[in-house]
């Protein structure tokens, strides 16, 4: 089997970059929670890596990308020929020396499935049962992510219509954002929200997370060309342009509206720009990327305030950043697409009429409704069967200590915060002398 070694090397690197985005997301989200919930927030991302990897190997890849089955059925779901990754180890995406191994393609796509699931967790910070989240992650990946990835990228009906979604504006961000909204509604508000101020407990972590996301996103966007050519370069540069302008747009809005540009704003603005340029990075010119970045930074800065008006506790703004940012990026393509692919048209401002605009609205709307409805039903079922929330006293005490028996920052000198307090392990001989004992 002849492969393109340059392209293969890049997509392998890109897969590693995108995998790093999920721990990056966990820092971004973890810093935004209160100190008593940082570990649970990060654990929700890490457990998504575990759950989705196992499902992907078992059947996820096959359902998303196997096109060998019944052709009518294949418009909505993939076949079963690649169950357990069967048949992938000796094939490549093209036989003539221009392809990459299917195992590399599968690994790359797996990292997208992982982060999409992890993104949803931001809506339910500090209050969800860990087991309930694991169940939701597995069921939502199976019933929503794998089919939707197939619809757009795996030879399914939305891709056949000619919708533009280069790296996952619809498949990843709108999909996750709609599920996050459903989950926030079913699980309900954090105790004390919105009366109590719930500010991010560690903004340096948020900035570090945003930086890792920005870095990894070059793999996400430029890697989605699945090779190395002029489009790879275009996607790479457009990603940088839109992200920088979005981060700038967000903090300018903050300065004019609130009087201060915040570090949370710069981090959120960068992510909003990354989200919006995701579907569009390979289809727009420099001006288009700049417009999309500006729209994302400015509109998302306002969209994150919606939850206070509408009363849903989407704790870390998955809806305001990912759903809204994804919609901006997708719909904007209907106006500013300059370099359409096969079976696609330029945007309205580039002489393509309104046909592409229609598709760029249709795809997101269909996925938004599907993801929201299925996520809502799944969350309701899980809530009935096992309960989605931890008890109120455990939530107020802190989900980290009550669910995971740990705290993110064990800074006290008295060591009463659960497990660190001790006279040494009672099951081990010759326990270490305990810290100075303090009488109550």
């Amino acid at each position: 089997m002849e492969i393109d070694t340059g392209s293969t090397a890049w997509v392998i690197m890109a897969a590693a970059l995108v995998l790093l985005m999920t721990p990056g997301l966990s820092l971004f989200y973890g810093g935004m929670t209160r100190a008593k919930g940082v570990l649970n927030m990060m654990m929700m991302s890490f457990v998504s890596i575990i759950v989705v990897t196992v499902l992907w190997v078992l059947y996820g890849y096959s359902l998303a990308f196997d096109e060998s089955g019944n052709s009518a059925l294949n418009t909505i779901i993939g076949g079963l020929d690649n169950i357990g990754l069967a048949g992938l180890h000796e094939t490549a995406t093209a036989d003539d020396g221009t392809g990459i191994p299917y195992l590399v393609f599968s690994a790359f796509q797996l990292t997208f499935a992982i982060i999409t699931v992890a993104l949803i967790s931001g809506a339910i910070a500090d209050r969800a049962k860990f087991g309930a989240w694991v169940a939701f992650a597995a069921l939502w990946a199976t019933l929503v992510y794998f089919p939707v990835a197939h619809w757009v990228w795996g030879g399914g009906w939305l891709g056949s219509l000619g919708i533009m979604d280069f790296a996952g504006g619809t498949v990843v961000h709108i999909n996750a954002g709609a599920a996050a909204l459903a989950l926030a509604l079913v699980v309900g508000r954090r105790h004390g929200w919105p009366k109590e101020r719930m500010r991010p407990h560690n903004l340096p972590l948020v900035l570090l997370g945003a930086a890792l996301l920005w870095f990894g996103w070059f793999g996400f966007n430029a890697g989605s060309e699945l090779g190395v050519d002029m489009t790879t370069a275009l996607a790479f540069m457009n990603t940088q342009i839109a992200t920088a302008i979005a981060a700038g747009g967000w903090i300018v809005v903050e300065k004019l509206r609130d009087g201060h540009s915040t570090s949370l704003g710069v981090a959120s603005g960068a992510v909003a720009g990354l989200v919006a340029i995701t579907p569009s990075c390979a289809f727009v010119d420099t001006l288009g990327a700049a417009i999309i970045g500006l729209l994302a930074g400015v509109l998302c800065a306002y969209a994150v305030g919606l939850k206070y008006k509408l009363g849903y506790d989407d704790s870390l703004d998955v809806v305001g950043v990912h759903l809204v940012g994804g919609l901006i990026g997708s719909v904007a393509l209907g106006f500013v697409a300059a370099y359409p692919g096969d079976g696609q048209n330029p945007g309205l401002f580039y002489g393509g009429g309104v046909s592409q605009l229609g598709l760029q609205v249709l795809g997101p709307v269909v996925v938004m409704i599907y993801s929201f409805v299925v996520a809502w039903i799944l969350a309701k079922i899980i809530d009935k069967v096992m309960g989605f929330r931890i008890p109120e006293d455990a939530e107020i005490t802190g989900i980290d200590i009550t669910t995971h028996a740990e705290t993110g920052y064990d800074l006290g000198t008295i060591h009463a915060s659960g497990v660190a307090a001790s006279n040494g392990p009672v099951t081990l001989p010759a326990a270490q002398p305990s810290e100075k004992k303090v009488d109550a």
Binding site: D393, H415, A416, V419
Partner: protein, 112 residues
């Protein structure tokens, strides 16, 4: 005047605060504390080892009240902090001779 000190379960702080406001208390001091009473802590398992944990996290609430109000305030705290389970905490009051408001120099009940 009296100083009331309440050691309560941390998650009961919201309820106790609300009850104190209801009872007309104008201010309070809240701090994190650790300790044990008759329940003597408990055992926990972490990374395969079992530990005896004797100090349990608590919240300490302190309020200054006038002599005539203190029974009512004590009762309000006890009612709000009660779960009926072990480790609910304790509330006590002690007489206070002098209270001075720093900003104005007022002394006695006017300073409360």
């Amino acid at each position: 005047m009296r100083l009331i000190t309440a050691i309560i379960k941390p998650f009961k702080l919201d309820d106790v605060k609300a009850a104190l406001e209801q009872a007309g208390v104008k201010g309070m001091t809240v701090s994190e504390a650790s300790g044990y009473g008759r329940q003597r802590g408990h055992t926990e398992v972490y990374r395969g080892a079992e530990y005896q944990v004797d100090l349990v996290p608590k919240v300490r609430v302190e309020v200054l009240v006038e002599e005539d109000d203190h029974e009512e305030v004590l009762d309000a705290i006890v009612k709000a902090a009660h779960t009926g389970k072990i480790g609910d905490g304790k509330v006590w009051s002690v007489p206070v001779d002098t209270v001075v408001r720093v900003r104005t120099g007022e002394r006695g009940p006017e300073a409360l």
